[in-house]
Amino acid sequence: MTVGENGNPDVRLVDVTKRFDDVVAVDRLSLEIEHGSFYALLGPSGCGKTTTLRMIGGFEQPTEGEIYLGDAEVSSLPAYKRDVNTVFQSYALFPHLSIFENVAFGLRRRSIRGQTLTGQVNEILRLVGLEGMGKRKPSQLSGGQQQRVALARALVNKPRVLLLDEPLGALDLKLRKQMQLELKGIQHDIDITFVHVTHDQEEAMTMADKIAVMNHGRIEQLGTPTELYETPATAFVAGFLGVSNLIPGTVSSSDTVQLRRGPEVRVRPEALQGRTGEVAVGIRPEKIALGEGQSNTLDGTIVEEAYVGVATQYIVETACGRLTVYRQNASPGLNGASPGQRLTLSWSPDSTFVVDSLEGPE
């Protein structure tokens, strides 16, 4: 159980493929997860993220490829022999056992008894804020408390890797936000590698320090939340993480793109990454200014305005199609731009990214 202290990543997948009959759920996937990281597998349903997690946990065997935990190849090991624990989507708490016995389950299987057992269970219950609840049954707890029991039941075993399968899906929005921060805090304190599966980009960005965006059984892009948001590599990633305006065009020089039905715009040479021909230029809504001032400009007419509290959202009709623009409501009573008004939009080449094509998600 103490393998892999020589700097090997905690989890390593090498060319892992999983087929269910004819359906390829995971397609030659390779990834490495460093010790102590909070790693998210993010993607739409059916992208293979849960299957990947289940293969790491030992609930599915890969059709091809190798799975390493530390430096041990585990793809043929059953779940109960892997130094990995899971927080299940539906919590899967044992309904006939008390909270204490639920949490003690893994320790008992490893023959930990008496004072040691009681001490470890109570300590972890304190960590997740459920002190003194040990005698209750799962059905007597709220959804949020059950979620904490599921977390405690896995963490008490101090696994090499903790797997979280959409752990917050059943909670309401407010509790979910709170638990996101708590989970992140707990992970920071206990120094265990977390692998987190979710379809919620905001949740992934809040908690994870590395995100693998998955699509069709493969990793579309791997990076920090900032990298993925600021410089998405594909239209899919740009569309899956937040809102983005994608405008088709043709590369016209080492740092310009000629928009298909608009002006030529400047981009950073690094953003082009040697691309030529047909591309799409992307700008995040909050990076477009209403009015001139930046070097890239586009004329348009406001067609819709929606006040959403922290920002106001404008839909602007331009020669290149409708663009979404956010203006932060930094001070009250900003002189209103209103529907029908003609104006010039502008943005900086530095906040412009370039992707290959326009084959984004719906």
Partner: protein, 285 residues
């Protein structure tokens, strides 16, 4: 709906009413009559009179103690056998049955399409001295040269096991089928082998089914007389046989009635002991 709406507090009684009325008419009243009969004395020719004849109960216990014990013994063994045979079956259907589940369940219920008596008569033929089972068992030496199955306690217990098998298998299936497969995955995730996961999770969660199946099998089996009559010898007769013959052949109603009450009491005691052993909360799940 207007009436129900105005008298909402009546709704529970309206829902309970038909069932309670039925039970009152066809269970409580006959039971009271039976209790009355059990304390009568006399005989069919001179007539019966109510004399607080508690001696009937004493006679029942004194004269038929062996039959009572045999009934509980046969019913107990048959219940255990039915449990042992049907648990793996119900488990397999619940967890591995897949799209065949309903068809397999139909097979379990299929014997009910033939009446009880006919099914037991069929067993009489199967176990007969000239039948295939006995001749095979004689050939391989499990039975002696003139050994037989019919008219033995083995045949009676086998018949009861068979006839009450669905009452055990169906509740077991229901309780196993309700178990969330993710709980077993969670147990395996927490270092439990398949066998440990079964012992710690599946088995305890299926206990309500075990209890329901055990009661549904044991209670009617203890009062059964068909199997002992058709498959057993007189020495294998159960208390049901005695009650049946006292009522219908000897028309000794007070004796038959008092025996019925002794049997009922014996079953209640067994059930109470059982419930105490497994914990009453298992009875309600």
């Amino acid at each position: 709906m207007g009436f129900l709406h105005r008298h909402r507090n009546l709704t529970p009684y309206l829902l309970l009413g038909p069932g309670l009325l039925y039970l009152a008419l066809f269970f409580v009243v006959p039971l009271g009559f039976l209790a009355y009969q059990s304390l009568e004395s006399g005989n069919f020719d001179v007539g019966y009179s109510f004399t607080w004849a508690w001696g009937n109960y004493w006679d029942a216990i004194k004269n038929y103690r062996g039959h009572f014990i045999r009934s509980l013994e046969y019913a107990g063994i048959a219940t255990i056998l039915a449990l042992v045979f049907s648990y793996p079956l119900a488990y397999w259907i619940a967890f591995r049955g897949g799209r065949w589940k309903n068809l397999l369940l139909l097979f379990i219920v299929a014997p009910f399409f033939v009446t009880y008596l006919i099914r037991t008569l069929a067993w009489e033929t199967i176990l007969a001295d000239q039948g295939p089972v006995v001749s095979v068992l004689r050939d391989v030496g499990i039975l002696g040269h003139d050994g037989r199955l019919l008219a033995t306690s083995t045949a009676v217990v086998a018949g009861i096991t068979y006839n009450f098998f669905p009452f055990m298998a169906l509740p077991l299936y229901v309780s196993l089928e309700q178990i969330d497969g993710r709980l077993i995955e969670a147990a395996q995730d927490l270092y439990a082998s398949k066998w440990k996961a079964f012992l710690r999770i599946t088995l305890p969660l299926s206990l309500p089914g075990v209890v329901a199946g055990t009661l549904l099998t044991f209670i009617p089996a203890a009062g059964d007389f068909i199997n002992a009559q058709l498959l057993g010898a007189p020495k294998n007769h159960m208390i049901g046989n005695v009650i049946q013959s006292k009522f219908l052949e000897l028309t000794d109603y007070p004796a038959a009635a008092s025996m019925s009450f002794v049997l009922m009491a014996a079953i209640l005691i067994m059930v109470a002991l059982y419930a105490r052993a497994v914990g009453t909360e298992k009875l309600t799940g």
